[in-house]
Amino acid sequence: MRDVRLRLLAVAALSGAAYLSVVGAALACAWWLVLSRRRQDLPAPLAVLYLGITVGLAGLATSLSGGDGLSYTIRIGAVLLVATYAYAHRRDGELLDLGVWLLGRRIGFDLSLTAELALQTIAVAGEDLARIRLAVAQKGVRSRFRQWLPVGNALLFAELRRSRELALLLALRGYAGGGRHCPRFERGARDLPAALAAICMMLFAILQTRDIFILLQ
């Protein structure tokens, strides 16, 4: 999906559907299978493993405390799957387009600039992390457990320094809140049908959820 407005609308709808019920989660997964680039959209296998273990443990804890752990695991797993789609299909600058289009040149610009910078930081931090881990391993600290403290410390300082330099750069360029930006959007042929399908899935998940159905009666 090329239009960020429709893509994020679809992502929000699918996340809602997946969170509401197992059927909604199944529908969100089906949507992902049709519209994603499959493995290309997924993060590194190790990250998938860590996410899987985290969600699985949370599901187990839910089961042990009397809840429906399996349902929780499936629903949160589907929400994360939709999130990987949103992250993999992002393009630099599009949140600025969305923010200014939605909320204007003052608060919209500020909020979307913050979001753009946050996303850039995630991408850069991943590369920094790999470089720091290599540097630490060269000193003979090869155990991931023992690397945790020095790597975390170095990564924190690297990101803080980058943030300070970026803030200084923005100030030097005269940024004092708000800004001029002319939003531009491209739309692919499948964008609208995909967004409508996602909204239908969320509506179905809402209607299918028994508690809400009872409330409506």
Partner: protein, 194 residues
Amino acid sequence: MEVVFDHLLLRRGEFALRADAVLGEGLHLVSGRVGSGKSTLALAIGGGLRPAEGRVELVGVGRRLLVQQFAEFHLTGTTVRAEAASWGLEPLPLLARLDLAERAGDDPFRLSRGEQKRLVLGCALEAAPDLLVLDEPFASCDVREKLRLGRALTDRPGVTVVLTHETRYLPAPDRAWTIEEGALRPCEESPGSG
């Protein structure tokens, strides 16, 4: 000792770099314009990037060290003294030689970028690895430090690979290479200045 690029193909996103070469003992200069792939190659030699195809083979190399362009990636000690010790070195004599003895008790992240670079380069050279890879070593250094580094690289044993576009302070390399159009190629004329 040799570093062998055996039909090496490195990929980072859309970018690709090919290398098929043997780097023997001595000083090797790898130059190329900004963005040509010098840091990518440095990372691969240092073991931080897995080749898409081919391999980097280290023949007879025991310890290898990659000093990255940004020194802060290397800092893990809570003090400058602890940082030097984390490289397995005796800190105080080394810090005295690096003019950092007075900062021994400071947090290394409170040093300036130039001082951090001096500290990391000094530790890496003192560690005397068989293979030393320096990615833009002159960046952030003042002239005094550049001259000191140039002297330290002269006649260093083992394999030294310096990836930089700044050759003014580098001793004449034993072999010069350039990265052009996504491939590592030998230079016909050595750009070393000494």
